[in-house]
């Protein structure tokens, strides 16, 4: 058996320090490179303070590592940490909704990985993270985690059941993805930033003008340079897409869904099937033209910081048909209905009747501060009318059996599918104006992080009543 309590691998210090260095690159650049010759008081003091902070961080990181211990038992993880303030935390496996792991380049050097267990609660301590962990131990924890929860005691963890693979990204997919995501455009700002930096460094402004004249005469050279720039940017886009979405694998077994992706920086994610709260299908304008979709699984776990939001996404550039097939075979209870009906046209008039607050505010603001720009208010008005029409055009709703599906949109189309028992609460509202039009607003909440609110404005009052009774009646 594994020893009971232990420290993390010392590589944790390196991982922490490297993330500290990454975070302070900007400060270093300012203090030691851009202002290298400066003797201003704040720069000199800044350098001293920065060095002191560095030393403290180093000591603090080592202390934190020394005082942090963890223990993995049959059905929970226990962590004791804290240099001055001690904390003791127990996370039972039964409260884990999903887990993900992220292997960065640094982890790879040490032959390690990281693992985050996500619970359904909110707040600071919602997630449990092993910053560094060996692959072997991670497997051990995952096996413990994935065993059926009702027979936690005594039994040895069973081997994992065969997984079936539903999707694997190939080169063609990735090339398509890199063009759809327009990631090659990201190269241009980089290029221009590079140019301006170099220009400042070598004072090439003057000579650049001459070069440009020269190029205008020899126009074929201009074309060659342009082609090279385009090729470079495409290569850059491909590189970005390949590192992010390369080796994309979606697989599942009877209980769980697994998503793995990335080259170099490998991210893997797993969620229990019965913990999926809802499914969202997203389509941007470009994806609609190419009939690609992004399918997202909504779960109560998940990080709140939001910078790695797309971990819960099935491959974001999947052809629609294939995406629906994959979804169908993994989560047969989530059926996406393509034919949806719009609300009657009177709802559009109702939406247009609402006061135009933004327009009114912009008229007042412009009238006070910039009278000659008053025409901007007209633009604002046209924009808000257009957005209301688009909003009406794409809003639709369907309910069949225990499934409810709503669609909203405009430039980005979003279809949300969930189940009766996944809805946390519903509310129906109607204002005086809505009653004149015989409609109501339906709002329902789903667990997610942060919670997901679906709001349907303009549902007919009959359907609102039926929906209420449907929700009220079903669980009896």
């Amino acid at each position: 058996m594994h020893p009971t309590t232990k420290r993390y691998h010392p590589a944790m210090i390196a991982v922490d320090l490297i993330s500290f260095i990454k975070g302070s690159v900007g400060i270093v650049l300012i203090l030691f490179i851009f202002k290298a010759t400066s003797t201003a008081t704040w720069v000199v003091w800044g350098r001293y303070i920065f060095i002191i902070v560095c030393i403290f961080t180093l000591i603090w990181t080592i202390l934190q590592w020394m005082f942090c211990q963890y223990e993995v038992t049959q059905n929970s993880v226990i962590e004791r940490k804290g240099v001055f303030i001690k904390s003791h935390r127990t996370v039972p496996f039964s409260s884990i909704h999903n887990h993900k792991s992220n292997t960065t380049f640094i982890h790879r050097w040490f032959g390690l990985t990281s693992l985050t267990l996500e619970t359904g609660t909110s707040g600071e301590h919602a997630n449990f993270t092993f910053p560094v962990i060996t692959a072997k131990e991670k497997r051990h924890i995952l096996i413990l985690l994935e065993q059926p929860q009702d027979q936690q005691n005594g039994e040895e963890p069973q081997p994992v059941i065969e997984r079936s693979i539903h999707f694997q990204s190939n080169k063609k997919d990735l090339i398509k993805a890199s063009f759809t995501s327009l990631s090659f455009l990201a190269f241009f700002p980089l290029l221009s930033a590079l140019y301006f930096n170099l220009a400042e460094l070598f004072h090439i402004e003057n000579s650049a003008k001459n070069t440009f004249d020269y190029l205008l005469i020899h126009w074929w050279m201009l074309i060659i340079i342009l082609i090279i720039a385009i090729i470079l940017s495409v290569l850059f886009g491909l590189f970005k897409t390949f590192t992010k979405y390369g080796n994309f694998v979606i697989s599942d077994d009877t209980d769980r869904i697994y998503i793995e992706k990335g080259m170099g920086n490998v991210v893997s994610y797993s969620i229990l099937k019965h913990r999926v709260q809802a499914v969202v299908v997203e389509q941007s304008l470009l994806k609609r033209l190419l009939s690609l979709v992004e399918v997202k699984l909504i779960s109560a776990g998940g990080s709140e910081d939001g910078n790695d939001q797309d971990t819960n996404s099935l491959y974001p550039f999947m052809p629609k048909k294939q995406a629906y097939q994959v979804l169908q075979s993994m989560l047969p209870q989530y059926v996406i209905e393509e034919r949806m009906e719009r609300f009657p046209i009177k709802v559009l008039w109702l939406k247009l009747l609402h006061p135009y607050y933004v327009t009114i505010l912009s008229i007042i603001g412009l009238a006070i501060f910039k009278r000659e720009w008053l025409w901007i208010a007209a633009f604002v008005f046209i924009l808000s009318v257009t957005s209301r029409i688009l909003d009406y055009w794409f809003t639709s709703y369907i309910r069949h059996g225990k499934t409810i599906q709503i669609r909203k949109g405009g430039f980005v189309n979003e279809t949300f599918v969930t189940h009766h028992e996944r809805i946390q609460q519903i509310s129906i509202k109607h204002s005086w104006l809505q009653r004149k039009f015989n409609v109501a607003t339906l709002v329902f909440l789903n667990r997610a992080k942060p919670m997901h609110e679906s709001r349907l404005y303009g549902l007919s009052k009959e359907e609102a009543g039926t929906f209420y009774t449907w929700y009220h009646g079903h669980s009896k």
């Binding site: 039964s94 409260s95 946390q424 519903i426 109607h430 005086w432 109501a440 009543g465 009774t469 009220h472």
Partner: protein, 176 residues
């Protein structure tokens, strides 16, 4: 009845009107006093002229909102508030111009607690707050005895459901 559903029936205490009137009056007086102090300051220390204009507007708005929330709102809110609690659901309804119906399944309830301010204590009333995984709701102004009974009831209903649910959520409806 605008929407054809099983509407909740139970009413909240008629003393709610007094409580809300009292607390709204106090709140608005405090707001007006602060605005008045700021106004005096801006005159005395010659702040920018737009400050006093803004303060005038705020004062006017506070007066209007005072008239609404002291004279009108408490009466009609008390008359329209309805709730119903059974084994399966909590049903809430309030408002007349903007009517709202809320339906919460018992199995999603995570905690329930009662709450009482100094004004409510004088009338022996409690607010009941019900929290779910995603939001929380308040049933206002329930007479003391009824409130304790309701709290216990909700706790029992929610707890039973939680165990049957077996999803492994550790949070239970707590009796504080």
């Amino acid at each position: 009845m605008y929407i054809n559903i099983n509407e909740p029936k139970r009413e909240i205490s008629s003393d709610a009107v007094k409580v809300w009137r009292m607390s709204n009056t106090i709140g608005h007086i405090i707001a007006l006093v602060i605005i008045a102090i700021l106004f005096i300051c801006s005159e005395r220390f010659e702040w920018y002229s737009w400050v006093s204009i803004v303060l005038y507007c705020l004062g006017g708005l506070a007066m209007l909102s005072g008239i609404y929330s002291i004279l009108i709102e408490p009466v009609y809110l008390q008359r329209t508030w309805r709730y119903e609690i059974d084994q399966e659901f909590i049903q809430l309804k309030h408002g007349r111009w903007n009517q709202q119906h809320i339906l919460i399944p018992m199995e999603k309830v995570e905690y329930v607690r009662t709450e009482q301010g100094p004004i409510m204590r004088r009338h022996m009333l409690y607010n009941i707050e019900v929290g779910t995984t995603t939001s929380n709701h308040v049933i206002p102004a329930i007479p003391a005895e009824e409130a304790h009974l309701l709290k216990a009831q909700i706790a029992v209903f929610a707890k039973i459901k939680d165990q049957e649910n077996g999803e492994g959520e550790k949070e239970h409806a707590s009796n504080n």
